[in-house]
Amino acid sequence: MIDSIVAKVRDGGRVSAEEALALYHHAPTHVLGRLADGIRLRKHPEQVVTYIIDRNVNYTNICVARCNFCAFYRPVGSGEGYVLGFEEIFHKIDETIAVGGNQLLLQGGHNPDLPIQWYEDLFRGVKARYPDFKLHALSPPEVLHISRLNQLSTTQVIERLVAAGLDSIPGGGAEILVDRVRKLLNCYSKATSDEWIGIMRQAHLAGLRTTATMMYGTVETDEERIEHMMRLRDLQDETGGFTAFITWSYQPEHTEHGGFEETGVDYLRTLALSRIVLDNFDNLQASWVTQGGKVGQLSLAYGANDMGSVMIEENVVRAAGAAYCMDELEIVVNIEDAGFLPKRRNMHYEILGDPIFREREVPRMLALATARADGDTSVPDELKNYEARSRHGRQLRLGQ
């Protein structure tokens, strides 16, 4: 049976969920890799591997969702909770532009004290100062949170945020798009599978491009991992709105859920299977931030055609134990060492050019920045302009 599925994939055929499961269970890792690599080569015969210079900014760590796999969030009232000020975010943008970046990946906790006006003012402020700078912001669960908090439909939220400057939506919060899994991970209430898919559909219909993600290795079965991929494939057939797929392994340290991280071989097999199943996705990213530079680079042999983001800053995965860092130079070295041609891109996967450090001097980045320095508990001045929902938030405003 495996031989016939392998032949089918080599001939460009589409696999069913059952066939995908059979491949995952029975195909040797090199066979999965070669199939995935063949698909990558068909889609990207020019042997280019892309990457983006952007900054992964988490505007708040205060969150009411309480996903049990997350080590980043702090509950309302926590002394370690923060909200970044607009000026802090502008400063991060300045630093991003200095190293050749063109976008913020802006995501955060479900903070009940940030009404939609806060996001609108932030986005407008960014666009006023940096008209060409892109905002890849607010995953579907954040959009849903804002809609609930402000008693707006998700369509209205997307419309208002786009009007304020939102350029695209990241695929965070997907975890595994199976409600049994979401209930066990305590992330069902932040967004059900249908809600996540529904918001992505709305975004695509509104003309936004988005990414799709999968965090695996918690409580899901192999069948559920494949069901997740199938749901993404179906929506992509319908809208064509996803630019890329990114998968990474659950990072267990300091989380309530605990347990172990899946291994490097598991990652490469899952990535390769993703490339095989998601035959309507052009781009697959390597998750070097969870796998490290070496397995991140090896991803390029297992179906990935993109090294993701230089990141500059990372907070969420670091909180759960992963602390890998690669600046543009290292990413380029890894791409070229693997025999590919490195090119900078934007979120739409349009090629922007050759490595920026070959065009001008760029400072080396030997560690990823954090949202804030340890112990910085300052409260941004502008927060007093926005109505807080929580008692702690209201008290904080009164103290300002």
């Binding site: 890792t29 090199h30 291994t263 071989v265 070496k294 991140g296 042999a301 693997a338």
Partner: protein, 298 residues
Amino acid sequence: MSTVTAFDVYVDRINRGEPLSADEIRELAVTPDILSLGMLADTVRRRLHETRATFLRVADVAFDNQAMLGQSPAAREIRLTGSPSTLAAAVAAVEAARAVAGDRKVAGFSWDDIARWSAGASTGQVLARLRQAGLDAIVDLPLDVIDDPRYAVESLKDAGFLQLRLTISKAPADARTPLLIRAAQLQDSAGAIHALNPLPLSLSTFRPTTGYEDVKMVALARLAAPNVPSIQVDWQRYGPKLAQVALTFGADDIDGVSASDEAPEGRRRAPRAEIERNIEAAGLLPVERDGWFNLLQS
């Protein structure tokens, strides 16, 4: 497709137990197709070891810190680290380790140390003195550093050191393929080599090796030296992820596993359950071994 056909021919030959020539190894060394290279190496590996992957728990003890010798009873090898300035200091460290090692292997030092201690005596005398003190193995026999590897191997054999392990100190990737071919030639002519560790023991922070480079070197080692029983990768130096992936590229033995289950080493911690989980996730059967490559259990 022609590349695939060429690799298929190689697979057939490997399955028949036919080694690849030095010229063929040099040709494979420049291929960017690491997956096909990995498949070839995995074919050799499975012919030699089937689905078994071994691991060795080691207690690394500084030669001048004998208070630590009683630690890590789970270790199957006591490995003395550091470089004593004199042979007498080395002998004293070996004797102290031997006293607590029981039936476990005591290993330590590099060929550089042996050469230095041989300044006023013959190499044979130095090796005999260390053997007499209870040393079972020299840890580092770096092919890229030793002037005359044949002499080193013969001297070690004459002194009663068996199951030798060849290593690479810091040779860059493009200089390592000839060393791997040389390892196979040494084994043909001198024998006594049991393991080859093809990844550099000295890691450069300025120019770290890449994942492609590492797995390619492991695969080339397996293909170049099918006459050397084990291809090793170091768990602590290269980390669980790379070490595990290397098992699918021809490695069959994970060396340097910490013997302490409680060491707070974060993501590099190496409790036995963790290494067994990694080996099983690579589709292989984990088997702990002792310092003499005897299998302890499955």
